[in-house]
Symmetry: C2
DNA sequence: GCTAGATACGTACAATTGAACGTTAATATA
DNA sequence: TATATTAACGTTCAATTGTACGTATCTAGC
């Protein structure tokens, strides 16, 4: 089920796409307003990114009222998975373990995270569906 | 100890940098020869990337014999850490757990990996230095 | 139905990146 | 020591990205 893959997602495009993902669907204005305070993008710039995202096949645009409503054309999880795979390939030869290792060594996991992970791993060993 | 950070590492540059990291130090020729078979970069292109990497502060170049020997100017682990942080920020709001979660869900961890991880996590809970 | 206001879309432009070459300078060997 | 070889460095050039605007178009209220 190798899906036709889209042109790469640029950094700024991802930033904007994630907002749409979080909102489920959104207008240009909503995305613009949802930008973090320290991120000062022009309204028109946001519009450009949304258009590019649509052109690249990441978002759909549907006319509603005065403007478009943008929504995911591909499941966010899928895109995140692809980006993660790409990152893994480029930096860790596709191996997840060294990355996790790295996260542990760099203390990126809290005590709670570790608790939770242990439980996850445990049930993974048991009930591999 | 916030180090002065270098200009961003482009994709192709990372590719080349990783080879130097793996070899410890290397000449243009060595890097060129160490490229994966399916990656056909011109010798001169490799040279360009190595020069850019030096200019950006990722590698050092030392004259030896007929040409330069390139070596890490910054510890690879540090660069990998920065890239990982950046990736985490951009895609997971800086949270490592959702990423690991994702790796688990996407079956990127083998049974052996899980075994190993469990041991790592166990000893982390015990002997947190 | 007409007009004002808001939006889409194409367009623009500088900076960065991917890729490669030409000229100059240094090395090694005859 | 002269010459052939090899690599450094600057330079080039197209594609992509980050950012923004102008004009055509659509919607909504009058």
């Amino acid at each position: 089920m190798m899906a036709k893959d889209r042109p790469p997602l640029a950094k700024s495009e991802l930033e904007v796409a994630r907002i749409v993902w979080q909102l489920g669907e959104a207008t240009v204005r909503q995305v613009h307003e949802a930008l973090p305070d320290d991120r000062d993008l022009d309204f028109w710039t946001v519009q450009t990114y949304l258009r590019r995202l649509r052109e690249k096949g990441y978002l759909t645009a549907t006319r509603r009222g005065q403007g478009n409503v943008y929504a995911p054309a591909v499941k966010p999880g899928k895109v995140i998975g692809e980006l993660t795979d790409d990152f893994l390939d480029r930096l860790f030869d596709g191996e997840a373990l060294p990355l996790v290792q790295h996260l542990i060594d760099a203390h990126r996991l809290s005590a709670d995270d570790i608790e939770l992970l242990q439980r996850r791993l445990e049930e993974l060993k048991g009930g591999e569906k």
